[in-house]
Amino acid sequence: MSAHNHEGEHSKFLAHHFKSMSQQTAAGKLGMWIFMAQELLFFSGLFCAYGFMRFMYPDMVTQGQSSMDWRLGGINSVILLVSSLTMSLCVRSARSNNKAGTVKFLVATMICGLLFLVIKGSEWGMHFHEGYFPGKFFNPVAHAEIQDPLAHIFFGLYYVMTGMHGLHIVVGLGLMTWMLVRANRGEFSSENYVSLENTSLFWHLVDIVWIFLYPLLYLAK
């Protein structure tokens, strides 16, 4: 990384309207944290809908959850946790100017993300196989164990929550591919790491949402 001296602290990443790199980094981080606050409230709407459904139809929800396979959910939780670890280590290596480490951990995180999507897709496939389509398309096949017509609400909300979460994982993967390109170009250093750290913040938030989704959808009998 170019050795920069103090008075000419005009590294090539400094935008014209910022006075110093530290101001630019701090602004970038604060912007991302506010975006995290906004994402949190976006998911809060879905969790509130889940709370309503659980209050109105307690027995239907437990019956609906009987079809959920907590083992697959557990594996997904572990995968996302591993991806969180690798993401943090990726940022750490970027900030200690270790380009190889950054790329290595970034790729590991993306693999975990893809694995998560594969498992989630297979779970959806299982439900479709049983005929548990969301909302008005809900017609469980003959041998399916859930026949209660009201269970379509649980599955409707299940697909919306996990679908929205999956969409955020896809967005996260897109961000990470862009980060991978920039990491290969060697743009990240202990001085200019804020976009990588923002991607990691986004990924950790997606992990936090799953930390709440998993017990509420799979475990809360």
Binding site: A15, H16, H17, F18, Q23, A26, A27, L30, G31, I34, F35, A37, Q38, E39, L41, F42, F43, S44, G45, L46, C48, A49, F52, M53, M56, Y57, P134, G135, K136, F137, L150, H152, I153, G156, L157, Y159, V160, M164
Partner: protein
């Protein structure tokens, strides 16, 4: 209904810069249509928002006149759906169109996007907002969402009102999913603008500018941005759930599938009440600036006015239930919401009293912005006071969903935010365009708007207390005279607003150039440290903030005889 605002800025900018001889400024720094469309200069983005919002305001206003004209018609007994000037469905589409355009496209972005964009960096001594490209993206998202929403409502015939109440919105055959998607996109523009402003205020203030040395407009925009960031996502998720409700039928809000319509109202109003504070808080900020500058007096109780902005923003999140007092909401929630509605009324009262107290012992010049400030104080006072009627749960039973509510929110939103927006545009007109506007026509317009406004909406208060419900296109005969009065008033109001528009257009094309960089002799940085028309990077040298925003030259220490 195609909007041709794109062409306007080109003509507008060339006209301006060609007359200008004072070297390069942000208007003539770059030429051509693309230089406007892809600019990251917060001042140009502010102007583009201003042009777009004015065009949408005209479109929304046209539908308001259409509604008023239909309501003036003589009553036809046993009227069928299309026995009046416009059919029942068209009337429903018209009030939905009027409501959606005015709320989503005009009044929420009006002051934060135009003046917030233009003034925030200037007022805190920054070169630009924290994320200029994000700022441009917000504008493009706004334009895409706006065209999408206007198109779907116009051709899809949306007739659910701007509130999309289920189960009507989940079972009507009109284009609800498309309109909901349009509003979803617009929500993002609001969130990203709010995010941009919060980071700008926190990280990019001029050296020496502590929080108590910031102009009150910046306080108000900061409080508005906090609400925009924390409330709009809940609207986004509500709209996603309504779209899922219609596409997949997931049954959260639709009662035929086991959902609960009152839950939708909770979700919707959790955003929409803070949204009305997104609308009015910037107007408060503008008022603090206008009244202090034009009465040459420092604001009365700076800390109280600043903290009350934040107070309104925070308490504003606890009061949404007063929109649902008669909707079958639980009794405990009703009592809780009524009490907190009064809690949020106190800071608003403090602000109004502080403005009037600022006038005391000032040197008040009746320029056009000051006329609009007085019109704001008068109308907002009526709007705020009628809110007290609606806050008490027992009087609200009789007044809920009647024309009393229509008059209340028009007094607060149009009498408040729109009048403050017009006053603010007049106030900063020399700085934005470098042109002089005609003072006499400005004052005439403020009088005509004031008279037209009161003639339009005061009869609606009387109709409301007498029991005329909202969103009616055919009503009982005893309300006829009030509707006639209100329609005539709407014409006078339209004339007033057109006078304002012509005044601005005339000033752009034929107005004389502004010679001084601080015509009102204000003390905030955007006047004192910039050229007549600010250069592209706002300041030649980084301004240092040494004094409070309202220490005017004429201020003199009060004589030590215990004078307060």
């Amino acid at each position: 209904m195609e909007k041709r605002d794109m062409g306007k800025p080109v003509l507008f900018a060339d006209m301006l810069s060609s007359h200008h001889d004072t070297g390069s400024n942000y208007l003539n720094a770059k030429k051509g249509f693309l230089s406007w469309l892809f600019t990251v200069d917060h001042k140009r983005i502010g102007i583009m928002y201003f042009v777009a919002i004015s065009v949408f305001f005209l479109v929304g206003g046209f539908f308001a006149l259409l509604l008023r004209a239909e309501l003036m018609q003589e009553r036809i007994v046993n009227a069928t759906a299309n026995s009046y000037m416009i059919s029942a469905d068209h009337f429903n589409e018209a009030f939905t169109f009027h409501g959606s355009i005015m709320v989503f496209l005009v009044i929420i972005p009006s002051i934060p996007a135009t003046l917030g964009n233009f003034l925030l960096p200037l007022m805190i001594g920054a070169k630009d907002v924290a994320f200029p490209k994000l700022n441009l993206m917000s504008f493009h998202i706004y334009i895409v969402g706006a065209i999408f929403l206007v198109y779907t409502i116009a051709f899809g015939g949306l007739d659910t009102g701007w509130t999309f109440y289920t189960p009507y919105s989940t079972e009507t055959s009109t284009s609800v999913v498309a309109a909901v998607f349009g509003a979803f996109i617009l929500g993002f523009s609001s969130i990203l603008t709010g995010l941009n402003f919060i980071v700008t205020v926190h990280k990019m203030r001029a050296p020496g500018m502590t929080w108590v040395r910031m102009p009150l407009f910046v306080w108000a925009i900061y409080a508005t941005s906090v609400i925009q960031v924390l409330a709009t996502p809940v609207l986004a998720v509500t709209l996603v759930l309504v779209a899922m409700e219609r596409l997949l039928g997931i049954g959260i809000f639709d009662s035929n599938l086991g959902g609960d319509p009152v839950l939708f109202q909770n979700f919707f109003w959790f955003y929409s009440h803070p949204a009305v504070y997104i609308m009015i808080l910037p107007a408060f900020g503008v008022m603090s600036e206008l009244i202090t500058t034009h009465s040459r007096k420092s604001i009365f109780g700076y800390k109280a006015v600043a903290i009350s902005s934040i107070g309104i923003a925070v308490i504003g999140f606890f009061v949404w239930g007063h929109h649902m007092f008669t909707s079958g909401q639980s009794a405990l929630a009703t009592v809780f919401f009524s009490f907190l509605t009064y809690a949020v009324a106190v800071p608003t009262a403090i602000k109004v009293f502080s403005w009037v107290a600022t006038l005391y012992k000032g040197s008040i010049s009746f320029t056009t912005p000051m006329c609009y400030a007085f019109v704001f104080l008068f109308l907002f006072l009526i709007g705020g006071i009628t809110g007290i009627f609606l806050g008490a749960i027992s009087t609200d039973v009789h007044l809920h969903n009647t024309y009393f509510v229509v008059a209340h929110f028009h007094y607060v939103m149009m009498g408040g935010t729109l009048i403050a927006w017009i006053g603010a545009i007049y106030h900063w007109w020399p700085k934005i365009t470098g042109k002089k506007y005609s003072e006499t026509w400005g004052r005439i317009s403020s009088v005509v708007v004031f008279l037209g406004f009161n003639l339009t909406f005061f009869p609606q208060f009387i109709m409301g207390t007498r029991g005329m419900p909202r969103r009616y296109y055919d009503y009982l005969p005893e309300y006829y005279n009030f509707h006639v009065l209100s329609t005539i008033g709407s014409w006078v109001l339209a004339i007033g607003l057109f006078i304002v528009l012509f005044n601005w257009l005339h000033s752009i094309f034929f107005g004389k150039n502004e010679s001084s960089s601080n015509p009102w002799k204000a003390k905030t940085i955007e006047w004192t440290d910039t050229a007549v028309v600010p250069i592209e990077h706002n300041f030649e040298k980084q301004p240092i903030s040494t004094h409070g925003p309202y220490e005017f030259d004429e201020l003199v220490k009060p004589v030590k005889t215990g004078g307060h």
